[in-house]
Subunit: 315 residues, 2 copies
């Protein structure tokens, strides 16, 4: 058994939500928890000390007076805790069973309709429903990505107005950032940074990339669109990222963007991979080759590159 007296009083206070005053008072008055001390008389608590304090807090919230329960053992305390009602599994089950196997395409067209109608509520609730019915890959591949590319096409052809595109972006951004959920993947997962280079205001591509990378177990930081090369690299370095993913949508050939991309050659460290995707990437193949970037043509391709980088075949 390890000697686990590792927590100073401040950490205990933060973990339990008690104030340091109260922790000391409980010790002095009732010997609720008597921690070991360092040579210089500082308190050092063990994990079970903390657990006991947590239970005591819960019990006092439930009406017990601290003086009466403080000197009980952990086991005795546990018996006192009223267990709250069980999680409501039934609800979930019912949903699952009732749900009929539907076609992703139906959701897709339904989303599209909402976009035309500028009906945000409808769009979001459809997306939400879809996210319950389908796995994340299906959701991405069959609904969200088609939706985005379709919107992109319509926009280029002038079939829809700018505000349509903005609305979809805003809406999907919210939806996808839920999907990404930074806290999901562990600290130790490899990190990737997603953004678009300066001048590129269309961020949906970068959002897709973020969602895919997240579902592949990466730790994604999404920085929004329109960042200069130095900033992208600076952020990637500070975050210790293994890779940078940038998305280029439009236009197909832009002198400024070309200049912006070339900057990467100078400032990108060896141990960071650069992935470039999006419809617009084709227009810059020569520059991309020169700066040593990987060009991503589709999602499958992107996933492959991710796992290659992860296994250090590259970098």
């Amino acid at each position: 058994m390890k000697n686990e007296n590792k927590y100073p009083i401040k950490a205990v206070a933060q973990k339990t939500g008690l104030s340091v005053h109260v922790i000391r008072a409980w010790e002095k008055r009732y010997n609720a928890v008597v921690p070991n001390r360092t040579e210089t008389n500082r308190r050092l608590y063990s994990e079970s000390d903390i657990e006991k304090l947590q239970i005591l807090l819960k019990l006092t919230d439930q009406g017990h007076n601290i003086g009466g329960i403080a000197n009980l053992s952990i086991d005795e305390l546990r018996d006192l805790v009223e267990d709250r009602q069980e999680p409501r599994m039934e609800n979930y089950k019912v949903q699952r069973e009732v749900r009929q196997p539907t076609d992703p395409d139906k959701y897709f067209t339904s989303c599209l309709k909402s976009v035309y109608a500028l009906d945000l509520k409808e769009l979001e609730s459809t997306l939400y429903k879809a996210s319950v019915s389908f796995s994340q890959p299906v959701l991405l591949d069959r609904i969200i990505i088609p939706l985005i590319t379709h919107i992109g096409d319509l926009w280029k052809e002038g079939e829809i107005r700018v505000y349509h595109e903005h609305m979809v972006t805003a809406s999907l951004r919210g939806f996808l950032s839920n999907l990404i959920d930074t806290s999901k993947n562990s600290e130790s997962a490899p990190k990737i940074l997603a953004t678009t280079p300066q001048g590129q205001l269309h961020e949906l591509g970068a959002l897709i990339v973020s969602a895919v990378a997240s579902s592949e177990g990466w730790n994604v930081t999404y920085l929004g669109p329109n960042l200069p090369a130095e900033e992208i690299v600076g952020a990637a370095e500070q975050l210790n990222c293994k890779a940078i993913a940038i998305s280029i949508v439009y236009p197909l050939d832009d002198y400024m963007l070309r200049k912006e991309l070339i900057k990467f050659k100078q400032i990108l460290p060896d141990n960071i991979s650069l992935l470039v995707g999006g419809k617009g990437a084709r227009g810059y193949l020569d520059v991309l080759e020169e700066i040593g970037a990987r060009v991503i043509l589709d999602i499958a391709n992107f996933k492959k590159s991710l796992s290659a980088i992860r296994e250090n075949k590259y970098n």
Copy 2:
């Protein structure tokens, strides 16, 4: 296996957010991290050195005293780190709502720290906790709005880099769009559209506006930044909005923006109110008067205008 000792102390300071003084002090006093040296006695840190320092910093924020943890191994340290993701709701809600340092300022400074460290996870989890502990107005007035204005100031003074500002934007956007939650307010609630005019890429102001309006019971459609006047009005008309809120941050006087604003005079229907806010709005008072816009100076002001419009005293 390359044992890469390639980071000089300055780089380490930038990556970790610690000062060079502190890094050296930790080495001298506790041998926290003992880097290799060049032939001329300069420190050269490895990646794992940096990682250890980052973990140490996080742990000190979590209440550990540096002297007590500095000589632990990386693995031992990792075990100590709180991976606070699964708040078992029962514990959390009951405890946190009642107890905890109920000081919004603490959350504010804690958020600011996370921004400096580029620690998205930490930032979002702090915001989440704050949203549990405080009412929405307090959350907005005491934490989020100060955070945004502070970031804005730092940015203007060149104290932080562009990617800091982007990170906060991306993160807050996700967070606020949850807060706004389009489906919350009823169909019959008055509608408002929030955005920024063409050329204005800073969207945080518009996001605040959205959050406030939503908490006042409006039905908010957030269209993201950088929309031409025709598009804004077009969208407002199609959505049957009672009001349009646009945010101007910077620069204080821009010819293009002036032109953009004047367009509203031509195309804005009588039954739609135009509200203009943000630090940058002061620079355009003359134009704004001409186009019949309401200038919003602060949040209280904004709320008043909203209820006035709602009651049809105006429009």
